[in-house]
Amino acid sequence: MVSAVFHTTEAVLPASSPSPAGGGLGWGHAAPSSPVAANDAAAPTPALPQRGREKIPFDRRELWLKVLPPLLGLGLLALVWELVFMGTGGSIPSPRDTFAQALQIFSDPFYSKGPNDQGVGWNVLSSLKRVAMGFGMAAVVGIPVGFMIGRFNFLSRMFNPLISLLRPVSPLAWLPIGLLVFKGANPAAIWTIFICSIWPMIINTAVGVQRVPQDYMNVARVLNLSEWKIVTKILFPAVLPYMLTGVRLAVGTAWLVIVAAEMLTGGVGIGFWVWDEWNNLNVKNIIIAIFVIGIVGLVLEFALIKLATAFTFEEVKN
């Protein structure tokens, strides 16, 4: 697209350069207003097919440049994998075998043969359920706490040392505490997700509140808005992009942590599935699980980025 646009301006440029508005960004718009361009308009028929002919090869190259590098990347992965397969004498399965196994697994993702043998769909869903619960509770607690910390300097100074101390702790270190307090594997896993998701949300929300432009707060002061109006009409929309960044980071961490937590706690879940297949020495399924984990993480991230851009207003920079 960029190259195509550039090409048309090249054709227009000599015509528009004598016009007063011809400088900088307005090339295309300046041309019709200039007297020279009127002569051009008299003979548009030879110009148009020429542009059309040029556009097609350029778009094709553009398409190739978009599609080719990712394909090459995936190809490289398959090649390295194949080499590893040959180098290890088959203890790591080949891409082709793994793909065949994956087709078989995904043909029936929702079977259930007892608690230790369930389809990959159930495993992913129960992991997502744990993440959603732990993460949801973290959002319910963390976002209001972040707002309070951002709004009141006293609270910020009070909680900053605590957050700095607790945030770098590996979430898995909290798992024994969870097991002790909740006396169950499932709530302990949810607790671990809760504790690792809460920090990015608190910190990003608080930073967002602190960075609300002073201009907006001055508007609030001049209008003498109530605290409720300030929160709903100014703070919340201004903080939303920051908050969503926090949410995105939190979901990313939560998805990392759930796999590790489930390996330790057992039950149904993608992490447990990986561990179970390791015990069965079913390496193909482990590799499939790695891809599944990656793809689910990718989808979560992508969805949250889309959500964040929908709520980001360009003018906040002013």
Binding site: N218, V222, N224, F313, E314, N318
Partner: protein
Amino acid sequence: MTSLTTKYIEIQGVEQTFKTRKGPFRALQNINLTVARGEFVALIGHSGCGKSTLLNLIAGLTTPTEGSLLCANREIAGPGPERAVVFQNHSLLPWLTCFENVYLAVERVFSETETKAQLKARTDAALAMVGLSAAAQKRPGEISGGMKQRVGIARALSMEPKVLLLDEPFGALDALTRAKLQDELLQIVATTQSTVVMVTHDVDEAVLLSDRIVMMTNGPSATIGEVLKVELPRPRSRVALAEDIRYLGYRKAVIDFLYTRQGHVEKAA
């Protein structure tokens, strides 16, 4: 009552000192000024001379270190909708439409006494006054700089403020848009009879719009250097005034003050 009309805003012995890392910084000192009801006063001076600081004091956004400010015989204790501010960078909320931006102000001031329909009518009227009825449902990101500033003015006027405070409202606009908005402001102020204090660094703008021009000395410790009464008849026309001998005289007086007597900004700083 007579004292109210001549001394609507009263600034007495105001001094403003800011705490900085290098110790206290005195931005303003010994400011004495009265503004009559319905008067248009321009504050002019080089950048950094404390014009905006003085305007913020009148708005109540900051409180003075020394001295007192009165509006309608009451001490200015904080910001409030009776002293509406049009900010330099318009300060519209980007997630609200133009209508909603103005409605937020209207709702705050009149929601206790008027119905929703009346509030909406007020908002529509304010947008119509600045010629933006068509853009009411657009967000600030979708309109031009001049239009944004007009929404800012509409928001301020919609509150029916006792005093309108303008902080370099047209500073960020191109010359043609600026001239157009100045003419609109002249008309609006003539119909609403508002009391206006406007910060500017544009000599023509000051002479064209105001009844008095308050010229400030260079900071730090800036104060009022001179006050010039602009006795040009209203309504004023930009084109007619361009060759008016009195207009040119006022213009010369301000330029003299700014560039001859207060020109050495670098030396002072």
